[in-house]
């Protein structure tokens, strides 16, 4: 056990070391003139600015807009995507008829549809939510299909032989068997969702983190731009890791 702890501590300190090294390299590259400070501002300016932004009402307002869009899109698309996926995974008929469409469409870059969403929904909140949902739904459906197909017929046979009711089959077999795969799909869906919302904001919008970042970039406010990028990265990483933690918790039995 102590060996495991020691190697874990070692691994984490190595990982922190790499992050610190990247920032140090960045700083040194700018200070020595290797990189143009006008294009790439040093972290000694960017990091304090990112922290300061968290106290800036304008940034916070835009951050709130983006978070609200992302969350609403997620809450709406998750049940729809999972329900479609389970239906396609469980039903022979619907599966055979409609699964190919999802696999084909999943490979199409969703960004080319953005102009259509602007025409249909305008450039406001609704359009961002709709586009975030559109980005996320394919990976959700495909994960839910995989989840439904991952339920071993041995488990079902056993539970039925022991007299499980339909309700017990769903709650005690399907749900725990599928949960880790579903949560994995939710995590991937969230990444696509955030990408979609930010991308739509950067393309054309009146508010949101993507709007700010895009404006800062076009007006050459490089310190703000990089601070904004750091915030967007931190937001996505936090959401992703939270879902990954849950995924590992409900999937610990996968060994």
């Amino acid at each position: 056990m102590s060996h495991g702890l020691a190697s874990r501590a070692g691994r984490i300190s190595a990982q922190i070391g790499i992050v610190v090294a990247i920032f140090l390299f960045w700083e040194v590259a700018v200070q020595t003139g290797m990189a143009n400070a006008r294009v790439l501002p040093p972290p000694s300016l960017v990091l304090p600015r990112a922290v300061a932004m968290l106290g800036d009402p304008v940034v916070l307002y835009n951050l709130w807009i983006t978070s609200a869009q992302v969350l609403l899109a997620f809450v709406l698309v998750a049940p729809i995507g999972i329900a479609i996926g389970l239906l396609l995974g469980e039903s022979d008929y619907f599966g055979r008829a409609f699964k190919p469409f999802f696999f084909f469409l999943a490979s199409v870059p969703k960004s080319v549809f953005l102009p259509v969403f602007i025409l249909a929904f305008g450039i406001g909140f609704t359009q961002k939510v709709a586009f975030g949902m559109f980005q996320a739904i394919f990976v959700l459906v495909i994960s839910a299909i995989a989840a439904a197909e991952s339920v071993s017929s041995d488990f079902l046979k056993t539970a039925r032989a022991y007299g499980a009711s339909r309700r017990q089959l769903y709650l005690d077999i399907y749900l725990p068997a599928m949960l880790p795969v579903i949560v994995e799909g939710l995590r991937l869906g969230m990444i696509f969702n955030i990408t979609g919302v930010l991308f739509a904001e950067m393309y054309v919008s009146r508010a949101g983190l993507g709007h700010l970042v895009s404006t800062w970039g076009m007006s050459f406010q490089m310190v703000n731009l990089f601070a904004g990028i750091l915030l967007a990265a931190a937001l996505s990483i936090a959401v992703n890791e939270a879902l990954r933690w849950y995924e590992n918790k409900v999937g610990a039995w996968r060994g």
Partner: protein, 271 residues
Amino acid sequence: MAGLKMVRTDSVAASAGADLRAENITHMFDTDDGALLALKDVSFTVEAGTFVGLVGPSGCGKSSLLLMMAGLLLPTDGRIAVRGETVSGPLPEDIGVVFQESSLLPWKTARENVEFPLYLRGVDRQVREKAALKMLDLVGLGEFTERRPHELSGGMKQRVAIARGFCQDPEILLMDEPFAALDEQTRMTLGDELLHIWDQNKKTVVFVTHSLTEAVFLCDKVLVMSARPGQILKEIDITLPRPRTYEMMATETFGQLRAEIWELIRETQAK
């Protein structure tokens, strides 16, 4: 031989198990190439408290028969009867099933897996916990009750599956090639332990297996099935006394019985 018969009759008389009959079972499967006759007029009786083996070539329908006895598959024609009553669905209180180790629920601990049949029936937590721990102790897993299947070896997992089958104290125990995934040494040990458990409570057992040695070693009677469409070729009484010991495997009787079964299977396969 009269002496041997007496021993067997005594053990049957002391039993609590229920009898099970297959009556004129015929079964067809729908396939893409049309209907397939899987079982043809299969009849047999498993007397209460006896240990009966079901052997036959691959694809002869023995696993389908077991599913029918478990109430998970309805025959196209004929019926399965427990104590004379037709089985039309699972009878979890009367019939326990032991499948291969892959049937353990991987997200549940050994104890929770053993408790599962009782849990489904809404048995009180403390009661089912006590019953599960007792069974796990009996199969030698007293120290591994809180492990999940992926932390157990193949033999240990199969012990959990056996404990689960016995835990709810059914009258009849159906075992579907329970040791097929195990190496020979583990399978011999488990077979021995299974007999030991069975000796204590004398359930009615139907044991589907590929292993002829296992069938002769464990059973009172072995039903030999033909290649598809599956029929009962012969019922062979295993005249070895109980309790069974490893030394019996070296006896002439054991060899003759095993050879007789093998001869039947070899012939039906050749056809």
